[in-house]
Subunit: 342 residues, 4 copies
């Protein structure tokens, strides 16, 4: 049996651990052979392959990124894309495909399986932890640790100077990284995309902090927005960037807080630092087990499924379940954490 | 309402986060007052208290250890101990007690509640992750990260020199730290207390590693034992220590491997480094939520219960459930991980 | 003898280690007493003091920030400021003053000593390492380690995706942090304030990197400027911030590289994360020794001097020497490092 | 021109950074070609080579260990060894040799140059920082950081429990790692090989610590010895190990302290963890610059020399200067640090 493997979408610590788990178990226990596809769906689309055997996966466990490369190429949006993918698999004698990716990449996998009979097994991947149908995705714990360490360091300044410290973290549609790192780092304000924030409330929290001789730390997800969303645009800062995505809301918020409270504010934008580098032990454990279970699903012929974490067990769910809707922060959880604001 | 809080047993990153969660929510949302008891059960036994209010918990979130101190004092083993604890609580107007601890400490709490009507809520704590009735305990993730980083560093030597590297990690009765850090660190052999190891097999794994020009890394839980357990004693190394507990099995194993394979072996004994220092983000998250839910249980009058992690939810279970039996590594999980041995 | 201590300017890992060194040696070996002044020069100006004895310095060694607080208050710019400082010292029986700070804070110390006979000893402090007359300042090594770790993490993305990664680090007038972290992190381009950069050259380096299938990492000091400095303003991005200081040049540069090369660029702005948190071992060593030698200088009555690192020795130099001119990156050193560009 | 490169002795973070610096500058600026020799002097002795060009050094900067491998083979102790080395160099058209190593490895280099006319340039390497003629060696800063982090973590336990914590660090003949990490970590006792310790004094320091409700942390270099050295042997613990080298003095000391003070003691033995893994930013900077200057010395034809750090400058000194004597801790420096004992 020959199994193809590809990784799609943004990079995420743990991708290599998944690949290693798949190959080690596949070769040693099942006698499978592997074909690595380069740069996500571009690989099978163009027949671009990477050798994938035991020596190829040696030493990759602690390394971030993916030895297979990644891209956002979508064969469903390419003329004759599905047919080209099927032809590549057939020509290269690839019997089944393990697809490691997020919503988009897995969406393609679901379509290829459900509508075109391609034998796929999915492995969920998103730094943002916003995929439904799994308790956690690998990479998330690493991102939260990195953001938490950054917040830890800012407390130093917060205890010695009269400054507002704004940290912008990843999370365009879901606030998991902000919520977890903000709680773990002891932030005084946490703003997430799921709930539009009230700038007056934010400033009130900031002011209350100064009263006990400490500077406030504000953690804001990149996708967070004020209640009056128009003000971001009217303010004229964001849209002059060209890139709203990165240095947007954090810098805007720092400016607003300065204007309203009269206190100096400083911004940290962690950016891609959050999604790179060596995975945490938890992510290596999770990613490795996802790999082991994915190849087991292939061996079982259980296609159209995705591996998923439930408590401490790895189970299988239909790929479609995971991509149907995004997993956002439950308002009750956000409220629970709110006891630490201000 | 006045609530007492104590921490018992070995220290564990996250204890302070629990305390902070309890006090912040208890004061701010419920208007409770708190009494901190010093050094575990010694506190209520001797009436030794620590002030516990909002200022007292400021800045403690990222700090390991416990601001309340800890000890292994057991009031059940002290003449009139139970009565003295009850008297202290009564005299100090303490209505309920939150007990943060492991098997022993919680066992006392269960007895006080079940047999003496003391209003207790438990919070499970063990670095070893071997408490039943909760998916994870806080402190474990931190310990695994520390051990994994140590193993990561040893790979360097393993790739440049012809040496066997033995790492002894915590785990007297359960091999969770060894299993998780060994897998996450890419160890070539993982030995746990749950399964006696075969020294010939260990040496065979070690030898096979040298054939691909890499030195092997062996992770051994402090409680692991060879199949012929007598050999450890006969060998005469262990019992001359006085302390079997710490530098025991790792050094013994390194000696045995040297003798049998003729390769130099080096030992690392991490010891208390694994249970100290700042908690990981995961442990801060878990410990904080445990604290928030414990005080909620007090507010609800739901005594005799312990907070527990189930998937991503914090639930309540009878304290007795957690202390009834130790949670050991499932043989199937150990076998799953075995694909990476050798 | 009673000695006053103050810390001025921006915070910097190691300040507490200096204070601890001063107090431990001063009390234990010389029998001195201490007065801590709060928030830099504001302390003696307003007579705002903090208790400073052995218990006060317990446990502060690994903590960033300063237990004395800091500010940028300058008594030379305050009506009757010098007189008020002298009066405070006299009234509080403070015989000598140890001043820990950067160019501005030490400049005040030099003036107070040279022109007003105040007995001061200086300890140099700058995260930027740009003080002349000392090989290194504490805090710098920590900042470089933090920036290097961030760059390390970005390599992951750089190896898996086709993106340009721009990292903005501290350094308004001197490029030491950029140079050291850029070299240590294996950056492909390093831009420093000392040498205006050529945008075409930067883009050429970026392009050459893509040819070997790796994304380029560009490290830019916050004070770096293009050869045609006007373009930054004409481009209209910087001046719309209100804050040029933080998210300025990095985001601008990323935009320019995107426009010119057609490749996506992402920005990381580390900000105050670089100057907070626990000091590196080197900085704790250096800061502690600075503290020990500063109090020794007070004991010797050697005022108007500043402690300074020369090789592995701590020596004393006139404070004025350190504040006369900024220490910038030697063009030959920048050229030496240039072998790694592109 | 063709240049050979080899790395000898124990591994040390920064070796790969030296190699990368040599090759990048040698190829790009001077047009040199390189031959890598495998496993130290074994390489030229047996003609065992590794390809060494720009692609070979890509990505190795942050990696510990050495891509060339290492060993303790000494051609001076091999029948006809010198002649075989010379023949290999001649046959492979290797004009000059860069030798990266410690006392032994560089000693061979000095002999080959001084007595046999081989064109060698040396790069000093020792984790222990005990090579004379250079302010610091790379790898040392990394080791000190690792040991310091371990001590930091132990403080947690020290603040919560009544235990003595003993940390054994590297340093067989010189106490630099113990001294720097012990100071940086805030240890209460530091024991180094240069000064035999008095067990009564150690116990007195330990006892005094308990009086202020903190547990003491004792850092001991592996080569430290009590004043009555015989007691270690008489005690019968050490010599029963077979390996005095690793778990020796730390465990022995913990036992003695337990017996004499009646307090529980726990031991951490860091072992090879100290010499592995990614180098600190300082070590990457130093190692890279050593590499750049070593190849420059080759270009200048300045053989028989070794690169060396003096303040912030890299200079050249005769290899023999570095190997003539070991650099031990100055008693005055040890005394300076002694203010923190107890």
């Amino acid at each position: 049996m020959r199994v193809g493997v590809l990784t799609g979408g943004g990079d995420c610590p743990g991708l290599n651990a998944v690949i290693r788990g798949i190959v080690r178990k596949g070769v040693q226990e099942y006698g499978f052979e592997f074909t690595g596809y380069r740069d996500g769906w571009r690989g099978p689309l163009e027949g671009d392959v990477v050798p994938l055997d035991i020596p190829a996966v040696r030493g990759i466990l602690p390394r971030g990124g993916t030895i297979l490369g990644s891209s956002r190429t979508n064969p469903l949006k390419v003329e004759g894309g599905v047919e080209r993918v099927r032809r590549t698999l057939a020509e290269q004698d690839v019997d089944a495909l393990i697809v490691i990716g997020g919503e988009d990449t897995l969406g393609v996998a679901a379509t290829l399986h459900d509508e075109h009979g391609v034998k796929v097994v999915g492995v969920p991947k998103t730094i943002d932890n916003d995929l439904d149908a799994t308790d956690y995705t690998f990479g998330f714990d690493t991102a939260v640790n990195i953001a938490t360490e950054a917040i830890d360091r800012l407390h130093t300044t917060a205890e010695s100077h009269m400054r507002v410290l704004v940290v912008e973290v990843m999370g365009r549609h879901a606030g998991w990284i902000a919520l977890h790192s903000g709680l773990a780092g002891g932030a005084n304000v946490i703003l997430i995309p799921e709930q539009r924030f009230d700038l007056d409330q934010v400033c009130a929290w900031v002011e209350s902090r100064f009263k006990i001789r400490y500077a406030p730390i504000v953690v804001v997800a990149e996708g967070a927005m004020p209640k009056d969303g128009d003000m971001v645009l009217k303010d004229g800062t964001l849209d002059s960037f060209g890139h709203v995505r990165l240095s947007g809301i954090g810098e805007w918020l720092a400016n607003q807080i300065e204007k309203r409270t009269g206190k100096e504010a400083r911004t940290t934008v962690l950016g891609h630092v959050q999604r790179g580098g060596t995975p945490s032990a938890f992510d290596r454990w999770l990613a490795t087990r996802f790999g082991l279970h994915a190849i087991e699903a292939v061996r079982d012929g259980d296609f159209g499924k995705m591996v998923s974490l439930r408590g401490t067990d790895v189970v299988r769910v239909p790929i479609a379940d995971a991509t149907a809707r995004i997993k956002t922060v439950d308002p009750r959880l956000y409220e629970e954490v709110g006891v630490f604001f201000g």
